[in-house]
């Protein structure tokens, strides 16, 4: 067994050296044969006999070489490589088909992989804490909150002082803790202040998360009490980055937020809570501050969620009852329900429906992609059934055939999968960009996809991709094979009769129609949905916010000494105003898009006449600096803005002014504001500002100067209007603030445009996703239409050819074929539009500014899709214009007689449907050389008629093409065809060119040989055969119109002649001098390598009176080239003779033969050399 294993390894090694081994074996065989032949010659046999005897004794060298070759290879590797190469070549020939399939698969596989990553990262992967499913949060659900796909999951909040109560009364929770996050200022050794994300957490939180510190310890339960020494725990990355991983940090003191804290521990490397950016933790001390916190807890052992929920429900109801009412907060309804939910569930529940919808949509896309590709492949394989039948008949095992067919599909699937992975990568990064909103707690939430940074295309996803790719490849590839296996292959060989009867290899006509209509309808619906969402988003983004967001920098200032004092803010605003590049600066308690509200009582100072409406409620009362209005670019529509010297002035917005509570004219009226004893005057009316979102209608607002109504917010928002890019001014602003308070810190720095854009992130995400899905669906539907139409064209090729022959115009047929595809598309479009109208009402909740039946969207989408569909139909239908009726019709009759083993595409003109390039070269005013594919044709325009010399081949069709070309440059009729030999590629065109009145001239041998070609020339007279022949010499025509024909003997065949046109001074040499290459000697037609040079010698005198030689295959040559050619053939003959005399085999001689330096430009293919030498060997004695 060991030797067998080594034998296999050997085979592999030998496989790599195979080429060299093949050569070696060949040499050995030759040497062996030579030696054997020598051996027999010494015994008295003649060379020939000795050679034969040696061959007989040796066995078949070719078989031997084959056997040894196979020994040095591993069959299935060989076959697989072969199949791969073949598949690549086949695909290379139809790049459009391959491209469409690859893109379709890429879309399906790529989107599937991307969604899989999202599902895996967001929904499935457990949070990185031990037993994370036992860590819970408490959820509060007010009775009136409808059970929609809501984002506003509210965590139940309690006052900090109620935490011990909760702990005591909830035995179902083993740990209960709270946490909050904030930026902390840390002073490290070098004296630098760092502003880092930190969190205050209860010690219980570390416990419940199961944290094992990498260094030191975590918080003790006692450290929750307010009086304990401040301690701090660092994250691993912080420890590494700022302290170099020094274990000596333990016990060191460090100043955090102005207080000295002791470093007691470092968390393990991968730990993060509540998010990845938190770098340090401090204990959440339960002191006298009244704060609302949302607890996080851990289920006690053996307690289920349901039990804990009931427990918590009772406890929290109790706590709620005892809570004091604070003014300004909306009173929570008494009927709130409480429940306990795992943190993972809490995190992902809001977004799960969206992801599930996405996943379903993507699965659907994959399905349609597979169906489409199957359709395309079935179409392609329909033409190959015959080829497969031949392979089986020639001995391929069914397994081999299956593997062969599957290779192409798997190759396509692999390309599609690879492209799909790239697509998935792009999708994930796009998702990250769209799904990231500014991490600000103060703004109305944009979209937030939880665990977004954990989504990536990792190993798992790639394995998934590979599995899907293989699955898709096998599924799609096996279907046609299965269909093929069902039809017996013998039926295929039996004849084209069945082919003409149009046995469809693909799905039934009805099936195809249904599929196409469904795809189109669904794509339309997707496009409409996407269009609506995009339109809505565009409208939303263009809403006038009521101020100018561009060039506006916003931030808050955190200062330990001057927290929120108005003089401090005023001073900062002043300082900022004079900075270079700043056009205006101000501050306010709240910015637009900040989600807090401030209210206050407002009443007219004087009593109003009866019937005046009361002040509207709720009312927004906003504290702003006098410069804020200018900084924000809010527009004054009546009166003026607040001024520096105003003592008691307010501004109102339009909505408030129009409410009428101050009578018809609000401007100039007096109002009482928030308990101030003295009245304020309404000095101006401003345009409405969208404060809470571009889609929210503005509330009534009144703006009061901060100096009169100090803001309750300790960190008011500053707004600075600059020239140019706001972010460029951050540094100078920071410096200016520091000049006033060196410990001040800028927080929440953002441009106003970022803030506004953030509020749009949810509709933007929807719009982009919907649009992407819609485009994918549309593309798939378009490829579906393409596939169906292409299939129809292929199936109906013969029918179309017949119609063409009967006189139909190509454009009519084009329309006929297109009509079918377009009709189904329109049906699908109608269905899709109807479906959209019915379903789009569900989008009502997310649309802005447009109705679900928005006509513009519907119209645009329908038009675009129709155009795309028409284009998709047009491309394959164009092929109809290229079908040549003559060829299709004639060859199909021919096939009827024989019984074809010829694939369908052989009926098209050579080149597979492409028009072959015919080039016409004008040699003389009336002499044209028509080159391009196969033998040269010369057209001689005489005084009254045209002579054509050689008509190309092997297909008769060429004759027609030549005739068309001639008509282009002369109107004279073609009266004579001269064939320089009987070669198929010189005479086949006769058939299509000839009419009853033409003379066909050739040598008498040519006539005999051509008559033997019964397959090509079906009728004896007028079918292209020569009407006039000669033996040695003939003159056609007279005077300047004449042509002199000569025959000097055999060359490549026995019928080759030379033609001189004296008036043009040209000599046509036919195949005797086809060009500067070694010609093939056609043995059955009398090719003669020995006589060749003699024939050429006899032709040499003709070169005296000419200027140009026209060769048989290569274009023109100089007269002296004929002699060189003669020498070449003579030298070749001589080499061969010498080699034979030297006793070499033809093969050895051919191998050893080298092109003499004299004939440097000549081409001599090894196969030709061998063939010629073998034949000459046979001729020589």
């Amino acid at each position: 067994m060991w030797t067998r294993l080594r034998a296999i390894v050997s085979r592999l090694t030998f496989m790599l050296a195979r080429r060299r081994l093949d050569e070696d074996v060949q040499l050995e065989i030759d040497a062996h044969l030579d030696a054997l032949a020598e051996h027999y010659r010494r015994q008295g046999m003649s060379s020939g006999e000795a050679y034969i005897a040696a061959r007989r004794q040796f066995g078949n060298p070719a078989l031997l070489r084959q056997d040894i070759h196979e020994m040095n290879s591993i069959a299935w590797i060989e076959h697989t490589l072969q199949d791969l190469r073949h598949a690549l070549r086949q695909l290379g020939r139809s790049p459009a088909f391959a491209g469409i399939v690859v893109v379709t698969l890429a879309l399906g596989i790529g989107s599937t992989t991307a969604i899989f990553s999202v599902v895996e990262a967001v929904l499935l992967r457990p949070l990185p804490y031990p037993e994370a499913d036992r860590i819970v949060r408490i959820i509060e659900r007010p009775a009136e909150q409808t059970n929609e796909i809501g984002y506003q999951q509210s965590l139940a909040a309690v006052w900090t002082r109620d935490l011990p109560v909760l702990r005591a009364q909830a035995p179902t929770l083993s740990h209960v803790g709270v946490y909050s996050s904030a930026t902390s200022t840390v002073v490290i050794d070098s004296g630098d202040s760092l502003h880092l994300e930190g969190s205050r957490i209860s010690p219980a939180v570390f416990d419940m998360l199961g944290v094992r510190p990498a260094l030191g310890r975590i918080f003790l339960a006692a450290e929750e009490a307010p009086s304990t020494e401040p301690v701090i725990v660092f994250s691993y990355s912080m420890w590494q980055q700022y302290f170099g991983g020094d274990p000596g940090v333990l016990g060191r003191s460090i100043t955090v937020d102005g207080k000295v804290s002791t470093i007691v521990g470092v968390t393990p490397p991968e730990f993060q809570f509540p998010d990845a950016s938190t770098l340090l933790w401090q204990p959440f001390t339960l002191d006298n501050r009244m704060m609302r916190v949302a607890p996080i807890a851990r289920l006690a052992d053996d307690v289920t969620i349901e039990v804990a929920s009931s427990n918590i429900e009772v406890v929290l109801q109790q706590i709620r009852k005892t809570e004091p009412r604070t003014p300004g907060t909306t009173s929570s309804s008494a009927a709130s329900r409480f429940e306990v939910r795992t943190i993972q569930e809490n995190l992902v529940a809001p977004v799960r429906p969206l992801i599930v919808v996405l996943a379903s949509a993507v699965a659907f896309v994959l399905l349609i992609a597979c169906v489409n590709v199957t359709n395309l492949l079935l179409n392609r394989n329909a033409a190959r059934r015959r080829e497969l039948a031949v392979r089986v008949a020639l001995g391929a095992s069914p397994g081999r055939v299956v593997r062969y067919v599957l290779t192409e599909t798997l190759l396509l699937a692999t390309f599609g999968g690879a492209a799909g992975v790239l697509l998935a990568l792009g999708t994930v990064s796009l998702l990250r960009t769209l799904g990231t909103s500014l991490a600000r707690r103060d703004l109305t939430p944009g979209v937030s996809i939880p665990r977004l940074d954990e989504i990536q295309i990792d190993g798992t996803a790639l394995v998934f991709t590979v599995a899907i790719t293989l699955g898709v490849g096998l599924l799609v590839g096996l279907l046609p094979v299965v269909r093929y296996a069902l039809a017996r292959h013998l039926d295929e060989l039996k004849g084209s009769l069945s082919h003409i009867a149009s046995v469809h290899a693909g799905p039934s006509r009805g099936g195809r129609a249904a599929l196409l209509v469904t795809q189109t309808a669904l794509a339309t619906m997707a496009l409409v949905g996407g269009g609506l969402l995009v339109h809505s988003f565009v409208k939303l983004a263009n809403v006038d916010p009521g101020y100018e967001p561009a060039h506006l920098l916003t931030f808050t200032v955190r200062s330990s000494s001057f927290a929120g004092s108005v003089p401090f803010s005023e001073e900062v605003a002043e300082r900022l105003r004079v900075l270079p590049g700043v056009t205006a600066a101000g501050y306010a308690e709240l910015l637009p898009m900040v989600r807090f509200r401030t209210g206050g009582p407002l009443a007219p100072a004087q009593p109003m006449p009866a019937g005046t409406p009361p002040p509207p409620a709720p009312l927004d009362m906003r504290t702003v600096s006098h410069g804020f209005v200018a900084a924000m670019g809010m527009r004054i529509i009546a009166g003026r803005s607040l001024r520096q010297d105003d003592q008691r002035a307010v501004l109102m917005n339009e909505t408030l002014a129009r409410s009428g509570f101050l009578g018809p004219q609000a401007l100039g009226q007096q109002v009482l504001v928030a308990g101030h004893p003295d009245p304020f005057e309404v000095v101006g009316i401003v345009q409405d500002v969208r404060q809470y979102g571009l889609d929210q209608d503005p509330d009534p607002q009144v703006f009061v100067d901060a100096r009169q109504l100090p803001p309750g917010n300790p960190s008011p928002y500053f707004a600075v209007r600059v020239d140019g890019d706001p972010t460029a001014h951050v540094a100078s602003v920071r410096e200016a603030v520091r000049e006033i308070d060196s410990s001040a810190v800028l927080d929440n720095v953002a441009t106003m445009q970022q803030v506004v854009s953030n509020s749009l992130s949810r509709p933007r995400l929807f719009a982009v996703l919907a649009a992407a899905f819609a485009i994918v669906a549309a593309f798939l539907a378009a490829t579906g239409v393409y596939g169906v139409t292409a299939y129809a064209v292929t199936q109906r090729t013969r029918e179309l050819a017949v119609r063409l022959a009967l006189g139909a115009r190509p454009s009519e047929l084009l329309l006929m074929v297109m009509r079918q595809g377009v009709t189904w598309t329109i049906v699908g479009l109608f269905l899709g539009v109807a479906g959209s109208m019915a379903l789009s009402r569900y989008l009502q909740g997310v649309l802005f500014g447009i109705t679900p039946a928005d006509p513009m969207t519907f119209a645009l989408v329908s038009t675009i899709f129709l155009l795309v569909a028409i284009l998709a139909t047009l491309i394959p239908a164009r092929r109809i214009a290229r079908v040549d009726p003559l060829v299709a019709f004639r060859v199909s009759l021919f096939l009827l007689m024989i019984g074809p083993v010829v694939p369908a595409h052989a009926q098209m003109p050579p080149g597979g449907g492409q028009l072959p390039p015919i080039e016409v070269q004008k040699l003389r005013p009336n002499l044209f050389l028509v080159t391009g594919a196969h033998a040269n044709t010369v057209v001689f325009v005489r005084s009254k008629d045209v002579v054509v010399i050689d008509t190309k081949g092997p297909r008769p069709w060429w004759g027609g093409a030549i005739g068309d070309e001639v008509k282009r440059f002369t109107r004279l009729p073609i009266t004579t065809i001269i064939n320089t030999s009987a070669s198929g590629d010189h005479v086949a065109g006769n058939i299509a060119l000839v009419n009853g009145k033409m003379d066909i001239v050739a040598h008498e041998y040519a006539a005999v040989d051509m008559r033997k070609m019964t397959l090509m020339f079906t009728k004896p007279a007028g079918g292209g055969l020569p009407t006039r022949t000669f033996k040695d010499r003939l003159t056609v025509g007279s005077g300047p119109d004449r042509l002199e024909l000569y025959y000097f003997g055999p060359s490549t065949n026995r019928s080759g002649i030379f033609i001189v046109i004296p008036a043009m001074r040209v000599l046509l040499t036919g195949d005797a001098f086809g060009g500067k290459f070694l010609p093939a000697l056609t043995r059955p037609d009398g090719g003669n390598g020995v006589e060749f040079p003699n024939t050429l010698t006899k032709a040499l005198p003709l070169t005296r009176d000419i200027d140009t030689i026209i060769t048989g295959h290569s274009g023109v040559a100089k007269p002296q080239d004929l002699e060189v050619h003669r020498d070449f053939m003579r030298d070749f003959l001589e080499s061969t003779r010498q080699a034979k005399k030297a006793g070499k085999t033809a093969a050895a001689a051919a191998k050893a033969w080298k092109l003499p330096a004299r004939y440097a430009g000549y081409e001599a293919q090894p196969a030709r050399v061998l063939g010629a030498m073998e034949w000459i060997y046979r001729q020589l004695p």
Partner: protein, 119 residues
């Protein structure tokens, strides 16, 4: 080549095995030799008992090379031509000894069965 069923040794494989043995033995006896020489030797020794296609020697030589029982190198033959010489390796010698012993045993058994040789 032999697409035999797994397990059952076909006639062709038996023939190949025998030829391999003959080639191995020849190389052991004659020392390094080229393919032609081996063929001549087998022909001489066989005395018309065996007519084989001489080409099969090369197939045998390739099989033996795969099993590393012989090694090959180019050299000059006595006719002053380039030829590939094959030589038996140590592993080949061991294999030869094994096979010869097996042959002898088999031959002895057959002889005993025929009653020609007493135990």
């Amino acid at each position: 080549m032999a697409k035999g069923h797994a397990g059952a040794r076909t006639k062709l494989e038996l023939l190949q095995g025998t030829l391999d043995l003959m080639v191995l033995q020849t190389l052991d006896t004659m020392g390094p030799q080229h393919g032609y020489g081996i063929a001549r030797r087998i022909e001489q020794m066989s005395d018309d008992i065996l007519t084989l296609n001489e080409g099969t020697v090369y197939a045998a030589l390739m099989r033996l090379q795969h099993r590393r029982w012989i090694s090959a190198s180019w050299g000059i033959s006595d006719a002053n031509r380039k030829a590939k010489f094959y030589a038996i390796t140590a592993a080949g010698k061991r294999q030869l000894a094994r096979e010869v012993e097996a042959w002898d045993q088999l031959a002895g058994l057959v002889a005993r069965l025929r009653g020609a040789e007493p135990r």
